[in-house]
Structure formats: structure tokens, C-alpha cells
Symmetry: C2
Subunit: 421 residues, 2 copies
Amino acid sequence: MNTKEDAINLHRMLKGKIEIHNKVSVENIFDEETGTLGLIYTPGVAYVATEIYNNKELVYDYTSKWNNVAIVCDGTRVLGLGNIGPEGALPVMEGKSVLFKILGGINAFPLCIATREKDEIIGFVKAIEPVFGAINIEDIESPKVFDIIKRLQNELSIPVFHDDQHGTAVITLAALINSLNLVNKKIDGIMVVISGAGSAGYGIFKILKKAGCKDIIVIDSKGAIYEGREGLKDDDSEGKEGEDVRYSGNTSKYEISRKSNPRKLRGNLADTIRGADVFVGVSGRAGLLNTEMVKSMNQDAIIFALSNPDPEILPPDALKAGARIAATGRSDFPNQINNAVVFPSVLRALLDTRAKGLDEEMLVAASYAIASLLERPHLKEDYIIPKVNDPRILPIVVKTLKDAIKSHINNYDDRMALQKT
Amino acid sequence: MNTKEDAINLHRMLKGKIEIHNKVSVENIFDEETGTLGLIYTPGVAYVATEIYNNKELVYDYTSKWNNVAIVCDGTRVLGLGNIGPEGALPVMEGKSVLFKILGGINAFPLCIATREKDEIIGFVKAIEPVFGAINIEDIESPKVFDIIKRLQNELSIPVFHDDQHGTAVITLAALINSLNLVNKKIDGIMVVISGAGSAGYGIFKILKKAGCKDIIVIDSKGAIYEGREGLKDDDSEGKEGEDVRYSGNTSKYEISRKSNPRKLRGNLADTIRGADVFVGVSGRAGLLNTEMVKSMNQDAIIFALSNPDPEILPPDALKAGARIAATGRSDFPNQINNAVVFPSVLRALLDTRAKGLDEEMLVAASYAIASLLERPHLKEDYIIPKVNDPRILPIVVKTLKDAIKSHINNYDDRMALQKT
């Protein structure tokens, strides 16, 4: 099997991995007496359009909006490839659309857009809100993307899911819950080092925090992030004239600096990993974690080396150096930490509940639901998370999030979180 | 049959008339050895993405772009309903997508957008260019839409089709060609009165002009448009402060004033219709044309009363008053002038040739191709244009436009009109 040749040949043959089909029977559509054309198009559709105009909520009942998700990508941070542009991103997002359909029954349309400007991307997503029940933001460079997500979550009435951040966070926490179960440690007693402070690192930091983890150190290219580190700002909106705000300090790192690293550790990975219980690698740097570092960790170390295609350390090396559990993002090792477990099921739940938003509590609930699918004796060191095609994922995540959203309403009277249950 | 009730019930049952399907076989997609997931998604798709990044044209070969059309609508001028908003427009555009698929084999995705600002709409369409092989602009209010079309046609590398303008123009000219054949008149010798100067009126004016018609009078709400009429400007870009530029003079009417009405006729419809050979109604005003006016027309008058759902005159009344041929936009009378004959076939041709643009010459060629499908004895007063589901439409329009585009290249060395034939 030659992956490159096979992939290119398959794409050349398919000429696109998705297409639009009609749900309406078209057999007799043009019959003058009984044809449906007069109902689905002019003149009949005018009555449908008028009803929606008078009650906008009916757009969920009379059109495909209830099941439509937009995959929005500007092509700046695609897979491990970086800024390959919207055309280069399109086959990737079509692949994502295939997974949305198979695993979640969702119509996900890939919108790879020819603008990289933050305000234009925000304006674009706001413009498409009428057609979609939820938005999936994908492979947009950070820190720009954090601001985009924050603004969209505030300004839209449909949920905005950021797969690089939320999807990775949910599956990582699910894997961690089961790993801690195996090594008999509790989440509020462990020390975690996260290498990488982009979308994935920030998302994992936030969900671990929400799940009760108290000792997290996040490392970026300059070393451990700690409160007061030079260059961290509480505002990345503009920056000084001439300064490239995309690479300057940003609000997410400022937030990390204030809410992590309680002992204010400084230094590089080798300095900070000593005594840690968990390493989470989302650095994009192959081979970053060496066996010496693994040996310096606490007993029963857990290693999630998630950079793709080349992880921070290969699982056999990590295990040989004393780690108890090793996971990667790859399908050719055990324990693939794959957000395809997450995005179809979470989006399905958001669509089905017509949720208006998404919060950390819902994400944590999804992690526990996914983790709960594996119990001893099935749960073991080389099987810590369900496979992506486990048919139990969709129902349990949907049920859990429906309950979480309902309890939101009951507990916090936060009726704005939902349009309709 | 109760159209309103039936239409609403059908839409409630369908919950959307279109959906996204996978073209790739998903049966064994997750198999570790032979599964296609590793080819259509990570890691295999990275090779495909990289090839496109290195040669952007390959996006036509490896993704669905070659067959994707965006239906872009801001909801301001939907059917006969006016400004019903993007949500109200969505079921209409889904119906249009169904027709694109049945009649042209095209994936047309409805993008009903939540902005009415000209520059934002232009920016929006420019942003989606990477994903689509062509754009179909639909039901956006005029004159704003003229500027949008002009700018997009200049600034995009894919064709921009404006159905209200181009689709209506092509089918109207096709119907006129066959009508003139029946009454033995030539297009360069007739007098035509067009009532309505919106998208349809402007489009019909332009195509008739291009087809050789010399005596056209266009009437708007203020009466006949003539050179020098007060309020016509050669620039509608801004207007004076406080002036509503949407309803002030605009470039399209200025253009009409300079290129039509050679005798500078003034006055209302009754004043100008006297002696005319052809009436084309796209005024949106039911019953505008009365029998007295028809009687005042030239012998063998041709009446196209196209306003929907209520035409300027009902065909039986027009014929009783002496007209030789009567047509409407409705399916319950003979001679339905329906742009569903046009948009699927013309867009199919534009996609298949990877045309970069669209010009009047191509539109005229499409009209002659459609008209040619009916010959005597089939061609007669109550059968002047092929039915929308005539299976000969698609092949003849596609062949004709392919030839037109090729001859462009040969005659004018206008290689920019095409990326690839």
C-alpha cells in the first residue's frame, strides 16, 4: 500500500467526496396534476417562506437548517501542513464532512474561505447563521482563532464548536479519566505538563481545569508559562503599531499564566516534567520528549504524545522508559486519541437540542460519557478509549448532553442556553 | 388540492429538501488494513492537500468544486414576496437546489445570508470562491444587485450568473425567437415595450439589444425611460447624503436611457404601447395591461405577461383582444416562460468548460439553442418553448455554449475567458 499514490488516485477518481442529494421524490415532479414542483417551488413554497418570515423558528421545521453544520476554515493551519490556503484545505474538510455524516448523520458543508482577516472571518460566519444549526471552526491559526471563537459565541444564536480546541480537549480528558482509573490516581492530585499552547493546548488546559485538575504547567516555545512572564498581555486585540499581533502575547496565554503553574515553575520541558504524572504533547514537534524526561516523571506516568503525524515520543519508547500508558493521535498504535469520537456526537447533541451555546461543563460531561463506555476488564493500558466507530458513542453523548442542557435550565434558570429542548 | 396546506405539510414532513451524501464507499472505512479513512482523511489526504497547494488548479480534479454552485441570496426580493429575510428565502433556495440537481446534475448549496450591505455581500461571495465552480446570485433587490454582479464578474475567476437577470433574459429571448418565427417578423424590425426595469427588465433589455432588436422602450414606475429624463445618473455608488440610493436613479437605468427608446417616447404604458409588436411584462403589477392597450398594438401582437403569480394580463384576455401569442410565468397556462429551462443547463455548461466568465454573446447563443428545439409543426402559438423537463435542453445548451466559448478563444484570442476547455 502506497498511501500517497492511493490517496491521490482515489481523489482523482471520486472528484469530490461529498455531493448534494434531493430528499424529495422527483419521479413525478413535473406532472401537471400531481407534480410536487408546485409545492416545493413556486407557487407553493411561497406559503412556506411566508410562514417562516412570520415566525423565524419555523426555519428549523421546514428546511434543512436543523441538520446543517458549516465547517469554516481559512486554510491557515491545516493538519500538520500549516498555511496551505483554502483550496488546499478543501479535500481535508470534505473528509471531515464524510465523518460528520457517517458518525453523526449530519450535513456538514465545507466552507474554505479566501480571507484570513479576523473581522472578515467573524463577519462571514455571522452572515451564514440563517442556513446552519451549528458552526464548526476548523484549522484556523491561533491565537487569532481564540478571539474569533469568543466573539462568535457571544454574537451568534447557534453553537460554535472549535474542533481543534473543544474536540481535542474532550477526547483527551476522556482518555485521561480512564488512564487515571487504571493507575489509581485522582485528577485533583496529579501534575500535568502540556507542551503546546495553541488551540489544542489551550482547550486541554481549560477542560482539565474545569474537571478539577489543580497542577497544570503549559509550555510554549519560550518555556513554561507562568504569571508575570514577560510579553503576556491581557489584550491581543490590537497591539502596538508595527507589531504582528498574531505572534505577540495573547489573551489565552495570559489566562493560562494566571490559572496554571501554581508553583511558578520556569524553564523548558526537561526542567518542568520532573515528577509530573501526565505529559500531553500538542507541540507539533516530533521527538520532543526523550526517554530521560520520561524517566524523570512520577511513577505510573501517562504519556499522550498527540502531535501528528510524528508524535513527541513513540509509544514503545515511552513504555520502555517506564511510562505505564502511552497514547498518540495515530491509528497505527493502540490508544488513538481521535477527535472524530467527539465532533459528530457533540454536534449531533447540539443540533438535536437546538442549543444556543456550548460551555466547559457540557464538554466535561461529554468526556465522562465517552470514558464510561470502557470498564474493566475491557479497559486496560492499551485500550483506554473507545474506537471511533463504536456505535455506543453517539447515543451516550447525545443523552448526556441533553441531560446537561436540561439541568442547566433547571439549576441556573439559564433559559437562554436553549431555544427549545 | 389545497396548495398552501399541501406545501406546508410536505415541508414539515421533509424537514429540508436537500441533504449531503458521501460519494466514497463507507462500508469498510474504519478497517485497519484496507479502510479508506486513512486515504480520504488524515494521513492520506495530506498528500492531496499538498498537491493542490502546489497547483491550485488541481482543486477542480480532487474535490467537488468542479460541480459546486453557490446560490447566494440576501432575502430582499424573494419570489413575489419582497424582503422576507434570509430564513424565509431558505426553502425557496432549497427548491432551486432540487431543480439544479434534477435538471443539471449540479450540487447547488443555498447560502441565504444575514447581511443586506452591498460591500458585505461582495466580500462574502469573494470569500467562498475556493469552494465553488460558479456562483448563482438570486433574489437580491435591484439596483443594488447590478453593482454586485458587475463587481463580482470583474473580481472573481469563476462565472457569476444572475438568474433573475440572465436566466429570465435567455428564456424570454428564446420564446421571442420562436414567436417571431410564427408571426413572420424579424427581430431587427419590431418594436418592444418592456414594463419593469428591475433585474428581469434590465436583463431582457440587454439581451434583446444584443440579439439585434432596435426599437425597445423600457417603462418603470415613472413611465417610459428616455435619454435625459430627470433623476437618471451615470453613477449610483453613493448618492447625496440622506438620499436612499436604492431607489434613486441608477446606472442600469442610465444605460437603458442611452441605448433604448430611439424616438424618445414619453408617458405611461398606454401612451407607449400603441403600435408595438411585443409587450414584455416584468412589472410585478397584476392586470397592468388592459384589453384596450392590446388592441392598440400592431397586428399579430406578442404578449409575455411574466409577473408571478398574477400576470399583467391573463392569456385568454390578451388573445381575445387580438394578440396572436400570449405567454406567462405560470404553469397553469400554455407557454410558461420558466427560467428553470435555463439556469441548470447554462450553469452545467459553465462548470464543464471551467469558464471564467459569462457574456451577452453566450446568453444569446443559449437562447437560440433552446428555441431551436421546437420546429413546425410542433411549434405553434400555444407551444413556443420547450417544457422544463424536455431532455434535449441540457445537451444542446451545453454543446452550444462549449462551442461559443471555444470560438471566443479562436476569434478573439480571449484566452482569459477560460481556464481549460
